[in-house]
Amino acid sequence: MRNYAYYPGCSLKAGSKHYEESILPVFKELGTPLEEMEDWNCCGATAYFSVDNDMAAAICGRNLSIAEKTERDILAPCLGCYLTMKKNNHFLQSGEEKAKKILKDLKETGCEYKGTIKVFHPLEFLTNEYGLDKVKEKVQRPLTNLKVACYYGCQLVRPYTDFDDPDYPVTLDNLMEAIGAKAVDYSSKTRCCGGSLAGTMEDVGVGLNYVLLKEANKKGADAIVTICPLCQLNVEMTQGKIVKKYKDVEKIPVLYFSQLMGLALGISKDDLGFSRSFIPLDNLWEKLETGGKK
């Protein structure tokens, strides 16, 4: 098995603490504990690409170099971090004149990067490396009765489509089925939540996330399952305004896949960050029957 440097990114340390709070115990339970990368810097997200492309590549190069020094690939649970670093990694290895210059700058400032590192998302690791059969073996408490809408967002499968289908991916659905839940046929699974626009432009956030919520309601999902901090926040925070504006939808919880995995692996629900949900989880516990107990 490969060695991984866990790259939390800024979100998992702030607004999306419950992603980290659930992914760390889950990976420990799976026997592959995550170790945080030393002195990582922010990936730059969409902001750096919008202002300065060379700097965007340089700051990601610093992270790649840190990982390379410890001979570990990067594991990034946030899709913003995942794609930004994957894209810049691609660029730094492209042989373009500009990329060569940046590699030289990296070397001169003590961040030499030879180009040996790959960037992975936990879902990719679980599917292709760890294996869903092994996950299934570890399940203590299958989430029978729970219907989930698997929401992938965009950055995992686009523009690099080497991991799953860009329009209709299935890996998260497979993972949810492996832990005993029922994945509904969620046709909005890769439709955009608005990214950072959802927070700064209210109409956009409400409009886009209404479509996501309505489709999940229509398919009878008890919860929407996410793999990205920004998706989780957007789909969750816009629901208050959505139900005020549109009368044909109901609020449902938006959870991280790692929180549900944790439950299935037998970890106490008190140790998986469920208290950080904006939306009450009573229906969820009722549905899970055993979920309320430790």
Partner: protein, 193 residues
């Protein structure tokens, strides 16, 4: 009432614009756009844009530099890459939108009252300084830049929810080796000039 010219005349077009965009987007294929509209019909943000992605590509090809760089469209691209993976001519549309954002920042013609460019600039600044982003501070700086006191009020309910669930942090995050980061960014900016 003042009457304004709405038409761009031939002599105001910039015929080098397409090549400029092509180079900085690493997207050779832009000239091969067949105007099929797959991008616009795939775009979740098209309904909010002043020009749809298909129109923007046509305008780049025709040399409407000024109109394109002042447009809201690039800044309303949420970077979901749907257009890019669906384009039958393999045009890197999302990357082109990023190029347009950068060009409008460089030329200082970006829509200054729109939140996305303000957010990008503030996030860029805070990361260049501290090496990490601090969500709350970036949002506050963005509203200061926009001189918009109403904006934060609109976010009150989300703010309260974040506070209640312990998901809001006032701390300014910082990496240990900021010196190295600053040296790196300095080296990069010097060479790109």
């Amino acid at each position: 009432m003042e009457i304004q010219k709405k038409v761009t005349f031939e002599e105001e077009l910039d015929h080098q614009f397409m090549d400029e965009v092509r180079e900085s987007s690493f997207s050779e294929e832009i000239s091969r756009c067949i105007q099929c509209g797959t991008c616009s019909s795939s775009c979740p943000m098209a309904e909010y844009m002043d020009y749809s992605p298909r129109k923007i590509i046509a305008m780049i090809k025709a040399g409407f530099k000024d109109d394109v760089l002042k447009s809201f469209t690039p800044w309303l691209c949420s970077s979901c890459y749907t257009c890019q993976v669906r384009c039958p001519s393999n045009i890197k549309i999302t990357d082109i939108m990023y190029t347009l954002k950068r060009k409008s920042v460089d030329a200082n013609v970006y829509p200054a009252k729109l939140p996305p460019p303000a957010l990008a600039k503030e996030m860029h600044n805070i990361i260049a300084k501290n090496g990490r982003n601090s969500e709350l501070w970036v949002v506050l700086y963005m509203y200061l830049r926009l001189k918009d006191p109403i904006g934060p009020l609109k976010m009150t309910s989300t703010g309260l929810n974040l506070l209640k669930t312990g998901r809001m942090s006032l701390k300014k995050e910082k990496i240990k080796n900021t010196k190295q980061l600053h040296a790196l960014l300095k080296a990069v900016s010097e060479e790109s000039e």
